[in-house]
């Protein structure tokens, strides 16, 4: 141990603090297909998976292993199992697995919303984990039913999931959450603070005065390789 302390929260860029705080409220508030309480449960399961000191292998579900999860009784077991797998073993997901989740009764748009919640949780968790600082607790859920609104969706060639019509007009990671625009908006806010604002993406020299763009891309590439993300 070096004894060095991590930067105090007050030293974290304000735009980053604001984006993360907004993400924490977002994932515990009502969405298109899930209530605020259900989204909070999805978030808690994702955090439990990320914190799990003895993770289950990808092919074993928490429900089949009798592993208790925070969302028990709030969200169906198939949802909790899917959240655990996406949070902890994303690189092992297959289209057959995804079809199995839908066959077990999860609505295709509700699945996209689950992914949106899990990725936001993984972002905030990943920041504090990388920094070696305590992660802020999730706020209390904003109770309320899902609003049920989403754009017309259709199957895509570039993703397993359904996307907002017309499909395949944007890159796969851009259209992946398009069935639930609020999830994409949250991701875009986080990405702007964590990495690069979307409108600056084509500027290969853009930076914040610390890491150069090649430095950022190196970190991105090493992290993606560590997570075995083919895309």
């Amino acid at each position: 141990m070096t004894g060095r302390t991590t930067p105090h929260r007050s030293e974290i860029r304000p735009d980053l603090v604001v984006a993360q705080a907004a993400a924490w409220v977002h994932v515990t508030s009502p969405g298109s297909c899930w209530s605020g309480v259900e989204r909070a449960a999805i978030s808690q399961v994702a955090l439990a998976a990320l914190d799990d000191p003895d993770p289950l292998p990808p092919w074993v579900t928490p429900s089949s292993a009798g592993r208790p999860l925070p969302g028990d009784g709030v969200i169906p077991a198939v949802v909790a199992d899917a959240v655990y797998r996406i949070a902890r073993h994303a690189s092992t997901l297959t289209e057959d697995w995804y079809r199995g989740v839908l066959d077990a009764g999860v609505d295709p748009v509700a699945y996209v919303e689950i992914v949106g919640v899990v990725v936001a949780v993984a972002a905030v968790d990943g920041f504090f984990r990388a920094l070696g600082a305590p992660r802020p607790p999730l706020p209390a859920p904003v109770d309320g039913p899902p609003h049920g609104v989403h754009p017309p969706v259709e199957p895509a060639t570039l993703n397993w999931v359904v996307v907002a019509a017309p499909a395949d007009r944007a890159a796969a990671v851009v259209q992946g959450l398009s069935a639930v625009p609020e999830e994409f908006a949250n991701l875009e806010r986080l990405a702007a603070a964590q990495y690069i604002p979307m409108f600056e993406m084509d500027d290969q020299a853009w930076n914040r005065g610390t890491l150069s763009r090649p430095d950022m891309e190196l970190v991105a590439a090493r992290l993606s390789a560590a997570r075995e993300c083919f895309y």
Partner: protein
């Protein structure tokens, strides 16, 4: 993106190869340490990065890590595929770096 961003820097503005290599070694060590399961190694990597470049660098590097903890799960959770042209254009680099062996390999 990495190659494009390097190419975008005018030759006269590029840091020396030694300086770039040292910085990239620190950044790569940081990423490897914070995704690993050795807290002491991670703490050392944070300290080395902050001592070399300052706390702002540490925060901004952790933020990029966070972004790709998000984006990798987005890609894999939604079954993202490359465009056919990307698939063809990346064949050599995928083979060179063993990327086709990743569990999430799909097309």
């Amino acid at each position: 993106m990495l190659r494009e961003s390097v190419d975008a820097i005018p030759a006269d503005d590029r840091p020396s190869d030694d300086e770039t290599a040292a910085r990239h070694h620190l950044l790569e060590s940081f990423v490897a340490a914070v995704v690993g399961d050795d807290p002491d190694r991670a703490d050392r990597a944070r300290a080395e990065l902050a001592e070399a470049y300052g706390d702002e660098w540490l925060v901004d590097t952790a933020a990029v890590v966070a972004n790709f903890e998000m984006m990798t799960r987005l890609a894999d959770g939604t079954g993202a595929r490359l465009y056919p042209a990307q698939w063809e254009a990346t064949a050599a680099i995928r083979a060179e770096h063993g990327i086709d062996g990743f569990a999430s390999h799909r097309h």
